[in-house]
């Protein structure tokens, strides 16, 4: 591929087919907008890629199910949720880091690393700046009443992500996988990801996880039996592959880490469910006795391996492990392990009927 780029400015009406993108422009809050396009052409195949480079200027709001004020209140609440998630580590994680610091031997490089981590947590909170410059994949989990309009919510969430990125709460962190172009908005296919879960209750609970790339890269999925690890299709086999994931990760996932694990499911739901475990708080206990035993054992055993913070060696390799199980096909037995770095960015808010934040969930 040999790419050639040129840029142009244009004003588009919503619904018009974009000559560069080859798709209809869809920007639900606007009737028309001015954008700057980067036209990228592969000079060998003459294939064209198009990218909106600049944030469209808001001309005027269209009618929205939330109605003018509620809509902007909802968006403001989501921006605040993003800011808080990016800059403030939840209390349960901070307590676990402090406990780890007490346990590491003073004067070791493991203790120094945890001291820097602790200082970083405080500094980010005070300055309202991202804890880590990799502000990660943006994963929303929304529990909503049956009457709720998820399409309108998604519009607000995408708008909130754009604005939070402009304000620096999020890094310009979303790249087109085909062209390598980063349009700087963090909005695109798969970004943000929003999981909706209707429930028969009036509450609207929005949770957010920001998961960086370093820890995402050390996640692993095992198909049991695994002969090399002598892991059979039972809980002992699960234990072996989960601990193998910890061993392989070493310090590369920015430990001390937290594991989210799913036993069972198909490949996609299994990984998805493993990440959902991160919504649980660190001190909580699994109501399923077998899984609770496995969680406790994984943390204790991992902390005996001497990998330590950042892989420097030491007592704290994991701060927690959260494990869920899904049914599987008779032919499949997947164990999916998601690794979360110490910069565990998870927050949530209960929203009122007007979209305002009623209380924080963590």
């Amino acid at each position: 591929m040999r790419l050639r780029a040129e840029s142009q400015s244009a004003r588009f009406n919503v619904g018009r087919q974009c000559p560069n993108l080859g798709a209809r422009l869809y920007e639900p809050q606007r009737s028309s907008f001015k954008i700057k396009l980067l036209r990228v052409t592969d000079s060998r195949s003459d294939r064209k890629f198009g990218h909106c480079l600049w944030e469209p200027r808001v001309d005027r709001f269209r009618a929205n199910p939330y109605g003018g004020k509620a809509m902007s209140t909802l968006q403001d609440s989501l921006i605040e949720l993003i800011r808080r998630t990016s800059a403030e580590i939840p209390d349960d994680v901070q307590r676990a880091i402090l406990l780890a610091l007490e346990q590491e031997k003073q004067g070791t490089i493991a203790a120094s690393a945890l001291q820097i981590i602790e200082r970083n947590v405080e500094l980010a909170r005070r300055k309202s700046q991202p804890i880590c410059q990799d502000t990660g994949s943006i994963l929303f989990y929304v529990q909503h009443p049956l009457s709720h309009d998820p399409i309108a919510f998604e519009e607000s969430a995408r708008g909130a992500v754009r604005i939070a990125t402009r304000k620096g709460y999020l890094r310009q962190n979303s790249v087109d996988s085909l062209t390598g172009v980063n349009d700087g908005t963090n909005v695109g296919p798969g970004s943000p990801t929003i999981h909706f879960h209707p429930h028969r209750a009036p509450e609207l609970d929005v949770r957010l996880i920001l998961k960086g790339g370093g820890c995402e890269n050390v996640g692993a999925q095992y198909s049991l039996p695994n002969e090399k690890l002598q892991a059979n299709r039972d809980l002992d086999g699960c234990r072996k592959v989960i601990l193998d994931a910890v061993l392989q990760a070493q310090g590369k996932g920015c430990g001390p880490g937290i594991l989210g694990v799913c036993i069972g499911g198909d490949r996609a739901t299994s990984y998805e469910f493993s990440k959902r475990q991160f919504l649980r708080t660190l001190p909580d206990r699994n109501p399923v006795p077998e899984l609770d035993r496995l969680e406790q054992d994984i943390v204790k055993t991992a902390n005996e391996l001497g990998i330590g913070p950042m892989g420097f060696g030491g007592k704290t390799t994991l701060l927690g492990a959260k494990i869920g199980a899904l049914n599987r096909l008779p032919a499949s037995y997947f164990v999916s392990v998601s690794y979360m770095c110490w910069a565990f960015r998870r927050q949530g808010a209960r929203l009122g009927p007007g979209g305002e934040i009623e209380r924080w969930l963590y």
């Binding site: 991202p130 370093g214 002992d236 920015c254 005996e304």
Partner: protein, 198 residues
């Protein structure tokens, strides 16, 4: 804590050993995937940049324009270094690099280049974007900004007491190899015993 100040001579670098905590003061150049690929493929350094006795930092900082027409680094933690393993050894040799800052450690080829040329791998705490940004006192210049974009550009940064740990030294030792080997043995031992009961 060992204070390591400019100039970064071979003598100072060879005196460092695995496990040393270092407070680095001087100039570092950020370099991620794009810069490494470019230099490895024979690309020239920008005029005015000399990496001899220099230090590279695997980092894609968040940099904003400041009020005086300069730049301000607001978040600057290390990125995963192992992605540069195919390029790093050759770049250390070609340019006479004395130090590489990153996270997660690097492999055999980089370790060999460190030993041969007198270079160390300095591990910064991953995710500690704010603490590390505070140790960056000035942005002196930026190169390849247009070509590679902001995170991939080569930022010339002045750092003061930038906290790092030597995890690969110029004598062939790698803390990463040692911890991996020890933890692998420990896990094999633990798997022979029953699981912890709750």
């Amino acid at each position: 804590m060992i204070a390591l100040n400019r100039p970064f001579t071979e003598e100072k670098i060879r005196a460092l050993k695995v496990g040393d905590e270092v407070a680095l003061t001087g100039v570092v150049f950020t370099a991620r995937d794009a810069v490494h690929g470019y230099l490895h493929d024979g690309g020239a350094l920008p005029p005015g940049v000399d990496l001899r006795d220099g230090i590279l930092y695997h980092c894609g900082p968040v940099v904003l324009p400041d009020e005086r027409g300069g730049w301000k680094v607001t978040a600057a933690g290390p990125t995963t270094s192992i992605r540069e393993e195919p390029y790093q050894g050759a770049i250390i040799r070609r340019f006479g690099v004395r130090g590489v800052i990153g996270k997660g450690g690097m492999g055999e080829r980089t370790l060999a280049a460190c030993q041969a040329g007198g270079c160390v791998y300095l591990h910064a705490v991953g995710g500690a974007a704010q603490v590390l940004a505070e140790a960056i006192v000035a942005v002196r210049n930026v190169y390849f900004l247009k070509e590679f974009g902001s995170p991939e550009a080569m930022w010339e940064l002045e750092v003061r007491d930038f906290p790092v740990v030597v995890t690969m030294d110029a004598h062939g030792r790698s803390l990463h190899q040692e911890v991996l080997a020890a933890s692998r043995t420990a896990l094999a031992e633990r798997l022979k015993e029953p699981a912890h009961s709750a």
